[in-house]
C-alpha cells in the first residue's frame, strides 16, 4: 500500500426514486490498497462500488481518479475493471475468449493477446481450460474466469462485488487467500464489497463499515474489531453484548447495577452510554464473588468454543468460553477494564 491517494469520493449523494441511497460519502482510497466496503444489505456498499465503476452517476458530489474528476466518464473509458456478483461471463464465448474480450476490443495483436490470456489463466490456476464452455465450469472456476477477465486488462483498480458469495465455505477460504496473493503480486488496488465481516477482517488493509448510506467507521481490521466507534459497528463486527450504562466520571462506568473501572474518558458526567463487551472477554467466575451473576440458559457447542447464554436480571449475556457450564447453573461473570468498550449512544 502506497501513500498517494488514487480514488477520492467527495460528498457523494445518490438518490433512486427520491430515496437517499448514499448520504454524502467521503472516502480516500490509496494506491495498491485492499479496501473492503462492509455492511448489511441495502447499506449502499454496492452503489458506492458502482459509482467508482461508472455504472451509477452521483446526484451530487465528485469522484476523483488519480487527481482527475471522473464524473460522467462512461465505464468503458475508466481504468477500472469489475468482478461482478454473479460473474456475468459471456455465455457465447469460451474461457479463452471471455478472458480475451477486453484485449480484443482494444484491437491488440493476436499473439500478444494469446500470451497475456495464458499468463492470466496461469495466475488464476485455469491452465488447460482455454477451450471450455462457460457452462461446463463449476462456480469456483467461473469465478476465476471472471477475475482473469478483469485483471488481464491491467486495471489500476479492481472492483469486486461480493465475488465469493455463491461459493461454499471451503472454496471461499481458498479464494480469499488466492485473491490476497493476486493483489500483492500485481500491486494494484482492490475494492471489495461484502457483508461477511470475517471476510472483510481477513483480507483488507482497511475496512469501511457502512449502514443506511453512511460510513460508520473506516479503519484497519484491528481498529474496527478492537475499537469499534459505535454499537452498530461493534455488533456487526462479531457478536457483542451491548448494555445500557452510565458514565459516572472518567474511567468509571456503571452497568448491570454495578460500577466498573474502565479505560475510557471524555464523556459528560452521568452521560448515558452503550457498553460493548465481546463474548470472549467475559470471565466466568464464582457466583458469590463476581460482580454480575445469572443463570445459564443454554449452551451450544460451536467447535472452537461453547456459546453460553446467561440470564442476569432480564439481560441475556452471550459468553464464548472453552469450558462448558451445566444449564440452570448459577454462575458469576466479570470483565477486565480494558475489555469494556464505552460508546456514545447512537441517535435512534
Amino acid at each position: 500500500m502506497k501513500d498517494n491517494i488514487l480514488i477520492s469520493l467527495k460528498d457523494v449523494v445518490v438518490e433512486f426514486d427520491g430515496q437517499r441511497i448514499l448520504k454524502g460519502i467521503n472516502l480516500d482510497i490509496h494506491d495498491e490498497e485492499f479496501v473492503t466496503f462492509l455492511g448489511p444489505s441495502g447499506c449502499g456498499k454496492t452503489t458506492t462500488l458502482r459509482i467508482i465503476g461508472g455504472f451509477v452517476e452521483p446526484n451530487s458530489g465528485d469522484i476523483f481518479f488519480d487527481g482527475k474528476k471522473i464524473n460522467g466518464v462512461p465505464p468503458y473509458k475508466r481504468n477500472v475493471n469489475t468482478v461482478f456478483q454473479r460473474y456475468a461471463l459471456f455465455p457465447h464465448l469460451n474461457v479463452f475468449d471471455n478472458v480475451a474480450f477486453g484485449l480484443n476490443i482494444k484491437k491488440m495483436d493476436k499473439k500478444q493477446i494469446s500470451t497475456k490470456v495464458r499468463e492470466m489463466l496461469k495466475l488464476v490456476g485455469l491452465v488447460g481450460f482455454e477451450n471450455r464452455n462457460i457452462n461446463q465450469l463449476s462456480g469456483g472456476q467461473q469465478q476465476r474466469v471472471a477475475i482473469a477477465r478483469a485483471l488481464v486488462n491491467e486495471p489500476k483498480v479492481l472492483l469486486l462485488d461480493e465475488p465469493l458469495g455463491a461459493l461454499d465455505l471451503k472454496l471461499r477460504k481458498e479464494m480469499q487467500t488466492e485473491l490476497m496473493r493476486i493483489q500483492k503480486s500485481l500491486k494494484i488496488t482492490f475494492i471489495y464489497v461484502t457483508h461477511d465481516q470475517e471476510e472483510a477482517l481477513t483480507m483488507s488493509d482497511r475496512v469501511v463499515v457502512m449502514k443506511d448510506g453512511e460510513i460508520q467507521q473506516i479503519g484497519t481490521p484491528q481498529d474496527i474489531y478492537n475499537e469499534p466507534k459505535n454499537a452498530f459497528v461493534a455488533d456487526f463486527i462479531g457478536e457483542s453484548n451491548i448494555i445500557d450504562g452510565v458514565m459516572y466520571e472518567d474511567f468509571e462506568v456503571e452497568f448491570a447495577g454495578q460500577a466498573f473501572k474502565c479505560v475510557d474518558k471524555g464523556f459528560a458526567e452521568n452521560e448515558r452510554v452503550d457498553v460493548v463487551i465481546r463474548p470472549e472477554d467475559i470471565i466466568v467466575g464464582d457466583y458469590e464473588t463476581s460482580p454480575i451473576s445469572g443463570e445459564v440458559e443454554s449452551v451450544i457447542f460451536k467447535g472452537v468454543h461453547y456459546e453460553i447464554t446467561v440470564d442476569a436480571h432480564g439481560y441475556k449475556w452471550l459468553i464464548h468460553s472453552t469450558q462448558s457450564q451445566p444449564v440452570g447453573a448459577h454462575i458469576g461473570m466479570n470483565v477486565r477494564p480494558e475489555d469494556i468498550h464505552i460508546m456514545k449512544k447512537m441517535e435512534a
Binding site: Y76, N81, F84, A88, L89, F90, H92, N94, I105, K106
Partner: protein, 281 residues
C-alpha cells in the same frame, strides 16, 4: 449406462405419455402429408404421373415472386423488430407494458379486417390519397403493387418477429452488458460482440415464423396485390377452391413450395451457424 432389459422396459413406460402426441402427429401430419405426396404424383384417375410437378414449373415466375416478396418482408421485419425488441427488453414497468400492448394489440384484431383496413388506406381514393389531395398532390398509385403486398406482410407478421427476439433479449442479463462496458466496450461494440450474438437464436426463429407464412399467403396478395401480383399461395388456392379445380396440381405445387421453404431454411441456418462461429473465432 446399462442396457439391460429392465432399463428398456422403463424407457418404454417413460415414452407412454408421448403416445397421444405421436398418434395426433400420425393422424393429422404424417397421413395428410402422405396424401399430398400421393395426389401430387397421380392424375385424376389415380395413375402415377410426374405431369403435375412438370406443370408446376409453369408457375416458376410466381414462385420466384413469392420468394422475393417474402424475403424482402422478412428482412424488413428483422430491421424494424430488432431495435424495438431491444428497447422493449430493457424497459421496466409501465413503459414496457404499454409498448408491449401496442405490439400485441393488432394481433387481437381479425387478420382479414386488418388487411382490408390497409386496402381502404392505400386505395386510389383511399385515406392517404384523400389527405394528399388536400395539398394537390397525387393521387399516388399504391394499391395493387408489390410494395403494398410487402407492407401487408410486414404489418401482419411483425409480431412473430418481435416476440422471439424479445424473449432471447430478455435472457441477456444487465450484468453481462455491464461487464462488456466494463471491459472497454462502447455502445456499438457491446451490441456487436454481446447483444447480437446472444440474440441470434431469436432472430433465427423469427425469420422462420415470418418467412414461412409470408411465402405461402394468398389473402394479402389477393387484397393488396390485385390480379397482377399473384403469389404461389393464390395459385394453390385456385386449384382447390377456385374455378380451375385440380387438387393434383395443387398438391404438386404445395410439395414444391415445401421443398423450397425447407431449402431456404437450411441455407439460412447454415449461414447462421457460420455467422456465430465467425464471431467466436
Amino acid at each position: 449406462m446399462k442396457n439391460t432389459s429392465e432399463s428398456k422396459k422403463s424407457k418404454l413406460w417413460g415414452a407412454l405419455p408421448a403416445a397421444p402426441y405421436v398418434l395426433w402427429m400420425v393422424a393429422f401430419i404424417v397421413i395428410p402429408l402422405g396424401m399430398v405426396v400421393f395426389f401430387a404424383l397421380t392424375d385424376s384417375q389415380g395413375q402415377f404421373t410426374l405431369e403435375n410437378i412438370a406443370r408446376g414449373g409453369e408457375y416458376m415466375s410466381v414462385l420466384l415472386r413469392s420468394i422475393k416478396l417474402a424475403a424482402i418482408a422478412t428482412v424488413l421485419c428483422v430491421l424494424i423488430a430488432y431495435p424495438l425488441a431491444y428497447i422493449l427488453s430493457r424497459k421496466q414497468g409501465f413503459q414496457k407494458q404499454t409498448l408491449f400492448i401496442m405490439v400485441m394489440l393488432p394481433m387481437w384484431m381479425n387478420f382479414l379486417l386488418r388487411t382490408f383496413a390497409w386496402m381502404t388506406i392505400l386505395e386510389n381514393n383511399g385515406l392517404i390519397n384523400k389527405f394528399l389531395g388536400l395539398f394537390g398532390i397525387g393521387p399516388l398509385h399504391m394499391i395493387n403493387t408489390q410494395g403494398a403486398v410487402i407492407l401487408g406482410m410486414v404489418y401482419n407478421y411483425i409480431p412473430f418477429m418481435i416476440l422471439p427476439i424479445y424473449t432471447t433479449m430478455c435472457k441477456i442479463g444487465n450484468d453481462v452488458i455491464e461487464a462488456a462496458q466494463d471491459l472497454g466496450g462502447n455502445t456499438f461494440q457491446v451490441m456487436a460482440r454481446v447483444v447480437i450474438p446472444l440474440s441470434l437464436p431469436g432472430v433465427s426463429t423469427g425469420i422462420t415464423m415470418v418467412f414461412v407464412p409470408a411465402i405461402s399467403t394468398f389473402i394479402i396478395s389477393k387484397m393488396l396485390g390485385g390480379g397482377t401480383n399473384q403469389l404461389i399461395g393464390d395459385i394453390i388456392e385456385l386449384q382447390f377452391l377456385g374455378n380451375s379445380y385440380n387438387p393434383n396440381l395443387g398438391s404438386a405445387i404445395s410439395l414444391v413450395l415445401m421443398v423450397v421453404v425447407l431449402l431456404c431454411m437450411s441455407i439460412m441456418n447454415n449461414f447462421d451457424d457460420e455467422e456465430m462461429e465467425g464471431r467466436i473465432l
